[in-house]
Amino acid sequence: MFDRILNSKIWGFFFKGYGFLFLGFLYLPLGLIFVYSFNANSINMAVWTEFTFDWYLTIFGGASSQSSFDAAFTESPERIFEVVKHSVIVALSASTVSTVIGTATALALARYKFVGKRFYQALLVLPMIVPDIVLGIALLIFFVGAGFKLSLLTIIIGHTTFLSSYVFVVVSARLAGMDTSLEQASADLGAGPITTFRRVTLPQIMPGVVGGFLLAFIISLDDVVITYFIAGVGAQTLPLFILAMMRRGLRPQINALAVLLLLFSFAVAAIGLYLRSRKS
Protein backbone atom coordinates (compact mmCIF):
# COMPACT_ATOMS: atom_id res chain seq x y z
CA MET A 1 0.00 0.00 0.00
CA PHE A 2 2.86 2.30 0.71
CA ASP A 3 3.95 1.61 -2.80
CA ARG A 4 0.57 2.54 -4.02
CA ILE A 5 0.54 5.50 -1.74
CA LEU A 6 3.98 6.47 -2.93
CA ASN A 7 2.66 6.28 -6.42
CA SER A 8 -0.65 7.87 -5.78
CA LYS A 9 -1.34 11.32 -7.04
CA ILE A 10 -1.38 12.95 -3.62
CA TRP A 11 2.07 11.83 -2.75
CA GLY A 12 3.23 12.69 -6.21
CA PHE A 13 1.95 16.19 -5.71
CA PHE A 14 3.54 16.44 -2.31
CA PHE A 15 6.93 15.31 -3.55
CA LYS A 16 6.87 17.49 -6.58
CA GLY A 17 5.96 20.47 -4.47
CA TYR A 18 8.67 19.66 -1.99
CA GLY A 19 11.19 19.27 -4.76
CA PHE A 20 10.26 22.67 -6.03
CA LEU A 21 10.74 24.24 -2.62
CA PHE A 22 14.00 22.38 -2.13
CA LEU A 23 15.47 23.59 -5.38
CA GLY A 24 14.12 27.01 -4.63
CA PHE A 25 15.92 27.03 -1.32
CA LEU A 26 19.14 26.08 -3.09
CA TYR A 27 18.94 28.55 -5.93
CA LEU A 28 16.93 31.58 -4.87
CA PRO A 29 19.70 33.01 -2.70
CA LEU A 30 22.05 32.75 -5.66
CA GLY A 31 19.41 34.13 -7.94
CA LEU A 32 19.12 37.11 -5.65
CA ILE A 33 22.75 37.96 -6.19
CA PHE A 34 22.17 37.61 -9.89
CA VAL A 35 19.28 40.04 -9.83
CA TYR A 36 21.08 42.53 -7.62
CA SER A 37 24.05 42.53 -9.93
CA PHE A 38 22.00 44.38 -12.48
CA ASN A 39 20.58 46.87 -10.02
CA ALA A 40 22.01 50.35 -10.57
CA ASN A 41 21.24 51.34 -6.99
CA SER A 42 24.62 51.71 -5.35
CA ILE A 43 23.27 52.71 -1.96
CA ASN A 44 20.72 50.03 -1.19
CA MET A 45 20.99 46.90 -3.31
CA ALA A 46 17.64 45.65 -2.15
CA VAL A 47 15.79 48.53 -3.67
CA TRP A 48 15.55 48.37 -7.41
CA THR A 49 16.22 51.53 -9.36
CA GLU A 50 17.13 50.57 -12.86
CA PHE A 51 18.82 47.92 -14.95
CA THR A 52 22.50 48.29 -15.71
CA PHE A 53 25.52 46.33 -16.82
CA ASP A 54 27.79 48.83 -15.15
CA TRP A 55 28.91 46.70 -12.26
CA TYR A 56 30.14 44.12 -14.73
CA LEU A 57 31.82 46.76 -16.79
CA THR A 58 33.77 48.08 -13.86
CA ILE A 59 35.33 44.67 -13.46
CA PHE A 60 36.64 44.82 -16.97
CA GLY A 61 37.66 48.42 -16.93
CA GLY A 62 34.71 50.25 -18.39
CA ALA A 63 33.40 53.51 -16.96
CA SER A 64 29.89 54.04 -15.76
CA SER A 65 27.26 56.51 -16.71
CA GLN A 66 25.55 56.36 -13.36
CA SER A 67 25.55 59.64 -11.51
CA SER A 68 25.65 57.97 -8.13
CA PHE A 69 28.53 55.85 -9.15
CA ASP A 70 31.52 56.38 -6.97
CA ALA A 71 34.75 55.10 -8.40
CA ALA A 72 36.33 54.93 -5.00
CA PHE A 73 34.05 52.08 -4.00
CA THR A 74 35.08 49.70 -6.71
CA GLU A 75 38.20 47.73 -7.17
CA SER A 76 40.39 48.39 -10.10
CA PRO A 77 40.23 45.99 -13.01
CA GLU A 78 43.97 45.61 -12.82
CA ARG A 79 43.75 44.38 -9.27
CA ILE A 80 40.93 42.05 -10.16
CA PHE A 81 42.83 40.68 -13.09
CA GLU A 82 45.88 40.12 -10.94
CA VAL A 83 44.06 38.05 -8.35
CA VAL A 84 42.29 36.07 -11.05
CA LYS A 85 45.64 35.38 -12.62
CA HIS A 86 47.01 34.21 -9.28
CA SER A 87 44.03 31.95 -8.74
CA VAL A 88 44.32 30.39 -12.15
CA ILE A 89 48.05 29.81 -11.81
CA VAL A 90 47.56 28.17 -8.44
CA ALA A 91 44.62 26.09 -9.60
CA LEU A 92 46.32 24.87 -12.77
CA SER A 93 49.55 23.98 -11.02
CA ALA A 94 47.94 22.35 -8.03
CA SER A 95 45.44 20.35 -10.04
CA THR A 96 48.09 19.13 -12.46
CA VAL A 97 50.40 17.87 -9.75
CA SER A 98 47.58 16.46 -7.65
CA THR A 99 46.16 14.64 -10.68
CA VAL A 100 49.46 12.89 -11.20
CA ILE A 101 49.84 12.02 -7.54
CA GLY A 102 46.21 11.06 -7.10
CA THR A 103 46.23 8.83 -10.17
CA ALA A 104 49.44 7.11 -9.10
CA THR A 105 48.01 6.44 -5.67
CA ALA A 106 44.74 5.18 -7.14
CA LEU A 107 46.67 2.77 -9.35
CA ALA A 108 48.66 1.54 -6.40
CA LEU A 109 45.62 0.79 -4.29
CA ALA A 110 43.61 -0.72 -7.11
CA ARG A 111 46.26 -3.10 -8.39
CA TYR A 112 48.20 -4.14 -5.33
CA LYS A 113 47.65 -5.78 -2.00
CA PHE A 114 49.84 -4.82 0.91
CA VAL A 115 50.04 -4.74 4.63
CA GLY A 116 48.10 -1.93 6.22
CA LYS A 117 46.08 -1.22 3.10
CA ARG A 118 42.94 -0.52 5.12
CA PHE A 119 44.83 1.92 7.28
CA TYR A 120 46.33 3.60 4.25
CA GLN A 121 42.90 4.00 2.69
CA ALA A 122 41.74 5.87 5.77
CA LEU A 123 44.83 8.04 5.55
CA LEU A 124 43.99 8.86 1.96
CA VAL A 125 40.61 10.33 2.71
CA LEU A 126 41.82 12.10 5.82
CA PRO A 127 42.45 15.44 4.08
CA MET A 128 38.89 15.41 2.80
CA ILE A 129 37.37 14.70 6.17
CA VAL A 130 39.44 16.94 8.41
CA PRO A 131 38.02 20.45 8.79
CA ASP A 132 39.75 22.95 6.52
CA ILE A 133 40.92 25.00 9.44
CA VAL A 134 43.00 22.17 10.85
CA LEU A 135 44.58 21.57 7.46
CA GLY A 136 45.30 25.25 7.09
CA ILE A 137 46.97 25.47 10.47
CA ALA A 138 49.01 22.34 9.90
CA LEU A 139 50.33 23.78 6.66
CA LEU A 140 51.01 27.11 8.33
CA ILE A 141 52.98 25.41 11.06
CA PHE A 142 55.02 23.58 8.46
CA PHE A 143 55.80 26.60 6.35
CA VAL A 144 56.69 28.84 9.23
CA GLY A 145 58.64 26.10 10.92
CA ALA A 146 60.57 25.27 7.76
CA GLY A 147 61.25 28.90 7.15
CA PHE A 148 59.31 29.22 3.92
CA LYS A 149 58.03 32.62 3.04
CA LEU A 150 54.35 32.52 2.36
CA SER A 151 53.69 33.01 -1.35
CA LEU A 152 51.85 31.57 -4.33
CA LEU A 153 54.12 28.56 -4.15
CA THR A 154 53.10 27.77 -0.61
CA ILE A 155 49.48 28.00 -1.70
CA ILE A 156 50.13 25.59 -4.55
CA ILE A 157 51.83 23.12 -2.23
CA GLY A 158 49.05 23.43 0.29
CA HIS A 159 46.34 22.86 -2.30
CA THR A 160 48.11 19.89 -3.82
CA THR A 161 48.21 18.22 -0.44
CA PHE A 162 44.48 17.90 -0.10
CA LEU A 163 43.48 17.89 -3.77
CA SER A 164 45.29 14.60 -4.37
CA SER A 165 42.73 12.86 -2.21
CA TYR A 166 39.87 14.11 -4.36
CA VAL A 167 41.58 12.98 -7.53
CA PHE A 168 42.28 9.66 -5.88
CA VAL A 169 38.59 9.07 -5.19
CA VAL A 170 37.52 9.91 -8.72
CA VAL A 171 40.20 7.86 -10.48
CA SER A 172 39.71 4.92 -8.10
CA ALA A 173 36.07 4.74 -9.05
CA ARG A 174 37.06 4.57 -12.68
CA LEU A 175 39.70 1.94 -12.06
CA ALA A 176 37.29 -0.22 -10.12
CA GLY A 177 35.14 -0.55 -13.19
CA MET A 178 38.00 -1.53 -15.41
CA ASP A 179 38.65 -5.03 -16.66
CA THR A 180 41.96 -6.18 -15.20
CA SER A 181 42.44 -8.88 -17.79
CA LEU A 182 43.12 -6.13 -20.33
CA GLU A 183 46.36 -5.26 -18.59
CA GLN A 184 47.29 -8.92 -18.38
CA ALA A 185 46.55 -9.34 -22.08
CA SER A 186 48.77 -6.38 -22.85
CA ALA A 187 51.65 -7.88 -20.87
CA ASP A 188 51.00 -11.23 -22.48
CA LEU A 189 51.41 -9.60 -25.89
CA GLY A 190 54.81 -8.26 -24.98
CA ALA A 191 54.17 -4.81 -23.52
CA GLY A 192 56.19 -3.85 -20.46
CA PRO A 193 54.47 -2.17 -17.49
CA ILE A 194 54.97 1.40 -18.68
CA THR A 195 53.83 0.58 -22.20
CA THR A 196 50.79 -1.21 -20.82
CA PHE A 197 49.92 1.82 -18.74
CA ARG A 198 50.32 4.14 -21.70
CA ARG A 199 48.46 2.06 -24.26
CA VAL A 200 45.80 0.29 -22.26
CA THR A 201 45.27 1.56 -18.71
CA LEU A 202 45.42 5.28 -19.33
CA PRO A 203 42.96 5.30 -22.25
CA GLN A 204 40.55 3.33 -20.12
CA ILE A 205 40.72 5.61 -17.08
CA MET A 206 41.06 8.88 -18.99
CA PRO A 207 37.54 10.13 -18.24
CA GLY A 208 38.28 9.62 -14.54
CA VAL A 209 41.60 11.38 -14.78
CA VAL A 210 40.11 14.35 -16.59
CA GLY A 211 37.17 14.43 -14.19
CA GLY A 212 39.56 14.39 -11.26
CA PHE A 213 41.55 17.20 -12.77
CA LEU A 214 38.51 19.37 -13.29
CA LEU A 215 37.27 18.69 -9.79
CA ALA A 216 40.64 19.59 -8.33
CA PHE A 217 40.76 22.73 -10.44
CA ILE A 218 37.44 24.00 -9.24
CA ILE A 219 38.11 23.16 -5.62
CA SER A 220 41.44 24.95 -5.78
CA LEU A 221 39.91 27.97 -7.45
CA ASP A 222 37.20 28.20 -4.84
CA ASP A 223 39.24 27.48 -1.77
CA VAL A 224 38.93 30.01 1.01
CA VAL A 225 39.86 28.70 4.44
CA ILE A 226 43.07 26.85 3.73
CA THR A 227 44.33 29.55 1.42
CA TYR A 228 43.49 32.11 4.09
CA PHE A 229 46.06 30.61 6.41
CA ILE A 230 48.87 30.03 3.99
CA ALA A 231 48.73 32.97 1.64
CA GLY A 232 51.42 35.55 1.84
CA VAL A 233 50.93 39.27 1.58
CA GLY A 234 51.56 39.58 -2.12
CA ALA A 235 49.82 36.40 -3.09
CA GLN A 236 46.14 36.98 -3.03
CA THR A 237 43.74 34.69 -4.77
CA LEU A 238 40.30 35.60 -6.01
CA PRO A 239 38.40 34.14 -3.06
CA LEU A 240 40.65 35.93 -0.58
CA PHE A 241 40.15 39.10 -2.54
CA ILE A 242 36.41 38.73 -2.35
CA LEU A 243 36.68 37.96 1.35
CA ALA A 244 38.57 41.20 1.89
CA MET A 245 35.95 43.04 -0.11
CA MET A 246 33.19 41.56 2.00
CA ARG A 247 34.98 42.56 5.17
CA ARG A 248 35.25 46.12 3.99
CA GLY A 249 31.53 46.42 3.44
CA LEU A 250 29.08 45.21 0.89
CA ARG A 251 29.20 46.95 -2.42
CA PRO A 252 27.33 46.26 -5.66
CA GLN A 253 30.46 45.28 -7.52
CA ILE A 254 30.69 42.18 -5.37
CA ASN A 255 27.43 41.01 -6.90
CA ALA A 256 28.81 41.14 -10.41
CA LEU A 257 32.02 39.46 -9.36
CA ALA A 258 30.11 36.77 -7.54
CA VAL A 259 27.88 36.07 -10.53
CA LEU A 260 30.85 35.76 -12.85
CA LEU A 261 32.55 33.39 -10.48
CA LEU A 262 29.35 31.35 -10.16
CA LEU A 263 28.91 31.10 -13.90
CA PHE A 264 32.47 29.98 -14.36
CA SER A 265 32.25 27.32 -11.65
CA PHE A 266 28.98 26.04 -13.02
CA ALA A 267 30.40 25.88 -16.53
CA VAL A 268 33.35 23.79 -15.38
CA ALA A 269 31.06 21.54 -13.35
CA ALA A 270 28.80 21.06 -16.36
CA ILE A 271 31.76 20.11 -18.55
CA GLY A 272 32.92 17.65 -15.93
CA LEU A 273 29.50 16.11 -15.74
CA TYR A 274 29.21 15.88 -19.48
CA LEU A 275 32.55 14.11 -19.71
CA ARG A 276 31.56 11.75 -16.93
CA SER A 277 28.31 10.80 -18.63
CA ARG A 278 30.00 10.12 -21.94
CA LYS A 279 31.80 7.14 -20.42
CA SER A 280 33.19 6.36 -23.90
Binding site: D3, F22, T105, L139
Partner: protein, 301 residues
Protein backbone atom coordinates in the same frame (compact mmCIF):
# COMPACT_ATOMS: atom_id res chain seq x y z
CA UNK B 1 68.08 -12.47 -20.21
CA UNK B 2 69.57 -13.00 -16.78
CA UNK B 3 67.16 -10.98 -14.71
CA UNK B 4 67.12 -12.10 -11.15
CA UNK B 5 64.07 -10.16 -10.01
CA UNK B 6 60.98 -12.14 -9.41
CA UNK B 7 57.56 -10.89 -10.33
CA UNK B 8 57.01 -10.11 -6.68
CA UNK B 9 60.11 -7.97 -6.25
CA UNK B 10 59.29 -5.94 -9.31
CA UNK B 11 55.75 -5.43 -8.11
CA UNK B 12 56.98 -4.23 -4.78
CA UNK B 13 59.25 -1.66 -6.37
CA UNK B 14 56.47 -0.30 -8.54
CA UNK B 15 54.15 -0.15 -5.57
CA UNK B 16 56.61 1.87 -3.54
CA UNK B 17 57.19 4.23 -6.44
CA UNK B 18 53.49 4.80 -6.87
CA UNK B 19 52.73 5.35 -3.22
CA UNK B 20 55.78 7.43 -2.37
CA UNK B 21 54.62 10.85 -3.62
CA UNK B 22 51.39 10.91 -1.70
CA UNK B 23 52.87 9.36 1.43
CA UNK B 24 55.73 11.83 1.54
CA UNK B 25 53.47 14.76 0.79
CA UNK B 26 50.92 13.89 3.41
CA UNK B 27 53.50 13.13 6.06
CA UNK B 28 55.53 16.26 5.52
CA UNK B 29 52.74 18.75 5.03
CA UNK B 30 50.10 17.33 7.27
CA UNK B 31 50.95 14.49 9.61
CA UNK B 32 54.20 15.89 10.93
CA UNK B 33 52.76 19.39 11.43
CA UNK B 34 49.88 17.74 13.22
CA UNK B 35 52.40 16.12 15.52
CA UNK B 36 54.11 19.45 16.03
CA UNK B 37 50.74 20.93 16.81
CA UNK B 38 50.24 18.30 19.48
CA UNK B 39 53.57 19.19 21.00
CA UNK B 40 52.86 22.90 20.81
CA UNK B 41 49.61 22.48 22.65
CA UNK B 42 51.57 21.53 25.71
CA UNK B 43 54.08 24.34 25.45
CA UNK B 44 54.02 27.79 26.88
CA UNK B 45 53.31 30.65 24.50
CA UNK B 46 56.19 33.03 24.05
CA UNK B 47 55.78 36.68 24.84
CA UNK B 48 56.10 37.87 21.26
CA UNK B 49 54.64 34.86 19.53
CA UNK B 50 56.40 31.57 19.09
CA UNK B 51 56.79 29.12 21.93
CA UNK B 52 58.75 28.61 25.09
CA UNK B 53 59.81 25.07 25.64
CA UNK B 54 58.23 24.53 29.00
CA UNK B 55 55.61 22.04 29.95
CA UNK B 56 52.44 24.06 30.04
CA UNK B 57 49.16 22.28 30.62
CA UNK B 58 47.34 25.54 30.98
CA UNK B 59 46.36 25.75 27.36
CA UNK B 60 43.97 22.96 27.96
CA UNK B 61 43.28 24.36 31.37
CA UNK B 62 42.20 27.64 29.82
CA UNK B 63 39.83 25.82 27.58
CA UNK B 64 38.13 24.29 30.54
CA UNK B 65 38.30 27.61 32.30
CA UNK B 66 40.99 27.01 34.85
CA UNK B 67 42.27 30.28 36.23
CA UNK B 68 45.83 31.11 35.24
CA UNK B 69 46.78 32.69 38.48
CA UNK B 70 45.25 34.12 41.61
CA UNK B 71 43.82 37.11 39.81
CA UNK B 72 41.57 35.15 37.56
CA UNK B 73 38.37 33.42 38.27
CA UNK B 74 37.11 30.17 36.96
CA UNK B 75 35.80 31.27 33.62
CA UNK B 76 34.74 28.49 31.31
CA UNK B 77 34.22 30.88 28.44
CA UNK B 78 36.18 28.85 25.96
CA UNK B 79 34.38 25.73 27.02
CA UNK B 80 31.12 27.53 26.48
CA UNK B 81 32.21 28.49 23.01
CA UNK B 82 33.17 24.93 22.25
CA UNK B 83 29.85 23.66 23.51
CA UNK B 84 28.07 26.30 21.48
CA UNK B 85 29.99 25.10 18.44
CA UNK B 86 28.85 21.57 19.14
CA UNK B 87 25.30 22.77 19.52
CA UNK B 88 25.39 24.73 16.27
CA UNK B 89 26.93 21.77 14.48
CA UNK B 90 24.20 19.49 15.79
CA UNK B 91 21.49 21.88 14.72
CA UNK B 92 23.11 22.04 11.32
CA UNK B 93 23.00 18.28 11.10
CA UNK B 94 19.35 18.22 12.05
CA UNK B 95 18.54 21.04 9.66
CA UNK B 96 20.27 19.45 6.69
CA UNK B 97 18.70 16.11 7.52
CA UNK B 98 15.17 17.47 7.61
CA UNK B 99 15.81 19.21 4.33
CA UNK B 100 17.52 16.39 2.50
CA UNK B 101 15.62 13.33 3.62
CA UNK B 102 12.38 14.07 1.77
CA UNK B 103 14.40 15.44 -1.12
CA UNK B 104 16.19 12.11 -1.47
CA UNK B 105 12.88 10.34 -1.88
CA UNK B 106 11.73 12.98 -4.31
CA UNK B 107 14.73 12.38 -6.58
CA UNK B 108 14.62 8.63 -6.13
CA UNK B 109 11.10 8.49 -7.48
CA UNK B 110 12.09 10.16 -10.72
CA UNK B 111 13.19 8.37 -13.78
CA UNK B 112 15.74 8.82 -16.52
CA UNK B 113 16.82 12.22 -17.74
CA UNK B 114 14.71 14.09 -15.22
CA UNK B 115 16.47 12.29 -12.41
CA UNK B 116 19.91 13.09 -13.74
CA UNK B 117 18.91 16.69 -14.16
CA UNK B 118 17.66 16.87 -10.58
CA UNK B 119 20.86 15.31 -9.27
CA UNK B 120 22.91 17.73 -11.31
CA UNK B 121 20.98 20.71 -10.00
CA UNK B 122 21.29 19.56 -6.41
CA UNK B 123 25.03 19.01 -6.57
CA UNK B 124 25.77 22.10 -8.63
CA UNK B 125 25.67 24.59 -5.71
CA UNK B 126 28.50 22.58 -4.18
CA UNK B 127 30.67 24.12 -6.88
CA UNK B 128 29.59 27.63 -6.09
CA UNK B 129 32.16 29.48 -4.08
CA UNK B 130 31.71 29.28 -0.33
CA UNK B 131 31.91 33.03 0.05
CA UNK B 132 29.28 33.64 -2.60
CA UNK B 133 26.90 31.31 -0.81
CA UNK B 134 27.49 33.06 2.50
CA UNK B 135 27.22 36.42 0.81
CA UNK B 136 23.79 35.48 -0.51
CA UNK B 137 22.55 35.01 3.04
CA UNK B 138 24.11 38.27 4.10
CA UNK B 139 22.04 39.90 1.41
CA UNK B 140 18.98 38.11 2.62
CA UNK B 141 19.29 38.57 6.33
CA UNK B 142 20.88 41.92 7.00
CA UNK B 143 18.86 44.91 8.13
CA UNK B 144 18.86 46.36 4.63
CA UNK B 145 18.62 42.92 3.12
CA UNK B 146 15.96 41.19 1.13
CA UNK B 147 13.75 39.85 3.90
CA UNK B 148 13.68 43.03 5.88
CA UNK B 149 13.07 45.17 2.83
CA UNK B 150 10.21 43.00 1.68
CA UNK B 151 8.64 42.81 5.12
CA UNK B 152 8.98 46.52 5.65
CA UNK B 153 7.54 47.46 2.30
CA UNK B 154 4.67 45.05 2.93
CA UNK B 155 4.05 46.94 6.11
CA UNK B 156 4.43 43.87 8.32
CA UNK B 157 7.22 45.37 10.37
CA UNK B 158 8.47 48.85 10.99
CA UNK B 159 11.89 48.31 12.41
CA UNK B 160 14.15 45.87 10.59
CA UNK B 161 14.45 42.49 12.31
CA UNK B 162 17.70 41.43 13.81
CA UNK B 163 18.12 38.34 11.69
CA UNK B 164 21.84 38.46 11.39
CA UNK B 165 24.50 37.75 13.99
CA UNK B 166 22.49 35.11 15.75
CA UNK B 167 22.97 31.41 16.20
CA UNK B 168 20.08 31.03 13.82
CA UNK B 169 21.76 32.91 10.98
CA UNK B 170 24.93 30.89 11.43
CA UNK B 171 22.97 27.65 11.37
CA UNK B 172 21.04 28.66 8.27
CA UNK B 173 24.27 29.56 6.53
CA UNK B 174 25.86 26.26 7.43
CA UNK B 175 22.80 24.31 6.41
CA UNK B 176 22.88 26.06 3.07
CA UNK B 177 26.52 25.22 2.51
CA UNK B 178 26.48 21.65 3.80
CA UNK B 179 23.26 20.42 2.20
CA UNK B 180 25.02 18.56 -0.65
CA UNK B 181 27.08 16.66 1.94
CA UNK B 182 23.99 15.35 3.67
CA UNK B 183 22.07 14.75 0.50
CA UNK B 184 24.44 12.42 -1.31
CA UNK B 185 24.89 9.71 1.35
CA UNK B 186 21.18 9.66 2.14
CA UNK B 187 20.29 9.57 -1.51
CA UNK B 188 22.70 6.71 -2.21
CA UNK B 189 21.01 4.77 0.56
CA UNK B 190 17.47 5.59 -0.54
CA UNK B 191 18.27 4.60 -4.11
CA UNK B 192 19.29 1.16 -2.94
CA UNK B 193 16.16 0.72 -0.90
CA UNK B 194 14.53 -2.57 -1.70
CA UNK B 195 10.84 -1.81 -1.97
CA UNK B 196 9.97 -5.48 -1.67
CA UNK B 197 10.67 -5.00 2.05
CA UNK B 198 8.12 -2.21 2.18
CA UNK B 199 5.62 -4.41 0.44
CA UNK B 200 6.40 -7.26 2.82
CA UNK B 201 5.78 -4.95 5.74
CA UNK B 202 2.40 -3.99 4.36
CA UNK B 203 1.65 -7.58 3.60
CA UNK B 204 2.23 -8.33 7.26
CA UNK B 205 -0.28 -5.71 8.30
CA UNK B 206 1.70 -2.58 9.08
CA UNK B 207 0.17 0.79 8.26
CA UNK B 208 2.24 3.43 6.41
CA UNK B 209 3.50 5.14 9.56
CA UNK B 210 4.57 1.86 11.11
CA UNK B 211 6.20 0.79 7.88
CA UNK B 212 8.09 4.03 7.81
CA UNK B 213 9.23 3.77 11.38
CA UNK B 214 10.03 0.07 11.38
CA UNK B 215 11.33 -0.55 7.88
CA UNK B 216 12.20 2.55 5.90
CA UNK B 217 13.87 4.51 8.66
CA UNK B 218 16.13 1.67 9.85
CA UNK B 219 17.04 0.78 6.30
CA UNK B 220 18.04 4.33 5.50
CA UNK B 221 19.80 4.82 8.82
CA UNK B 222 23.31 4.10 7.49
CA UNK B 223 23.01 6.91 4.97
CA UNK B 224 21.62 9.25 7.58
CA UNK B 225 24.41 8.53 10.01
CA UNK B 226 27.04 8.76 7.30
CA UNK B 227 25.69 12.08 6.11
CA UNK B 228 25.49 13.37 9.67
CA UNK B 229 29.14 12.64 10.27
CA UNK B 230 30.16 14.33 7.02
CA UNK B 231 28.14 17.41 7.94
CA UNK B 232 29.01 17.58 11.61
CA UNK B 233 32.76 17.71 11.13
CA UNK B 234 33.05 20.77 8.89
CA UNK B 235 30.27 22.44 10.85
CA UNK B 236 32.16 22.01 14.09
CA UNK B 237 35.41 23.42 12.78
CA UNK B 238 33.93 26.16 10.69
CA UNK B 239 35.02 29.76 11.11
CA UNK B 240 34.05 31.49 7.89
CA UNK B 241 30.32 31.19 8.36
CA UNK B 242 30.23 32.47 11.95
CA UNK B 243 32.72 35.14 10.95
CA UNK B 244 30.28 36.68 8.49
CA UNK B 245 26.87 35.56 9.60
CA UNK B 246 27.64 35.54 13.29
CA UNK B 247 29.78 38.60 13.62
CA UNK B 248 31.32 39.02 17.04
CA UNK B 249 28.13 37.89 18.71
CA UNK B 250 28.37 34.26 17.71
CA UNK B 251 31.74 32.74 18.36
CA UNK B 252 32.70 29.28 17.38
CA UNK B 253 35.84 27.31 18.08
CA UNK B 254 37.03 28.04 14.57
CA UNK B 255 37.04 31.77 15.26
CA UNK B 256 39.08 31.23 18.41
CA UNK B 257 41.61 29.19 16.50
CA UNK B 258 41.89 31.75 13.75
CA UNK B 259 42.46 34.52 16.24
CA UNK B 260 45.03 32.53 18.16
CA UNK B 261 47.10 31.79 15.12
CA UNK B 262 46.78 34.89 13.03
CA UNK B 263 46.15 37.65 15.50
CA UNK B 264 47.17 37.03 19.06
CA UNK B 265 50.00 34.71 17.97
CA UNK B 266 49.18 32.38 20.80
CA UNK B 267 49.97 29.22 18.90
CA UNK B 268 49.90 26.78 21.79
CA UNK B 269 46.39 27.80 22.72
CA UNK B 270 45.23 27.61 19.13
CA UNK B 271 46.92 24.24 18.83
CA UNK B 272 45.10 22.97 21.89
CA UNK B 273 41.80 24.10 20.45
CA UNK B 274 42.57 22.58 17.07
CA UNK B 275 43.44 19.31 18.75
CA UNK B 276 40.18 19.40 20.59
CA UNK B 277 38.43 19.56 17.24
CA UNK B 278 40.65 16.88 15.77
CA UNK B 279 39.87 14.62 18.69
CA UNK B 280 36.15 15.00 18.04
CA UNK B 281 36.77 14.28 14.36
CA UNK B 282 38.81 11.19 15.11
CA UNK B 283 36.16 9.86 17.49
CA UNK B 284 33.47 10.33 14.88
CA UNK B 285 35.50 8.84 12.06
CA UNK B 286 36.48 5.81 14.10
CA UNK B 287 32.86 5.38 15.07
CA UNK B 288 31.74 5.60 11.45
CA UNK B 289 34.44 3.23 10.18
CA UNK B 290 33.74 0.64 12.83
CA UNK B 291 30.05 0.82 11.98
CA UNK B 292 30.88 0.29 8.33
CA UNK B 293 33.18 -2.60 9.11
CA UNK B 294 30.54 -4.23 11.26
CA UNK B 295 27.96 -3.81 8.55
CA UNK B 296 30.31 -5.31 6.01
CA UNK B 297 31.03 -8.25 8.26
CA UNK B 298 27.37 -8.91 8.69
CA UNK B 299 26.99 -8.93 4.95
CA UNK B 300 24.80 -5.90 4.81
CA UNK B 301 25.76 -3.74 1.91
Amino acid sequence: MAISDTVLKRKRRTLIMLLAPFTIMLSVFFLIPLGIMMVYSFLEPGLYGGVEWNWYPYNYGRIIGWPLNDYEEFEPIYLKIFLNSVQIALMTVIGTFLLCYPAAFWVSRMKGAKKNLALFLITLPFFANLLVRIYAWLLLLRPTGFFNTVLQSAGLIIEPLDLLFTNFSVIIGMVYILTPFMFLPIYANVEKLDYSMVRASQDLGANPLQTFRRVILPLTAPGIIGGSVIVFIPALGNFIVPSFLGGSKVQMTGNLIERSFLQSRDWPFGAALALLIMASVVVLVVFQLSRQAKAEARGVS
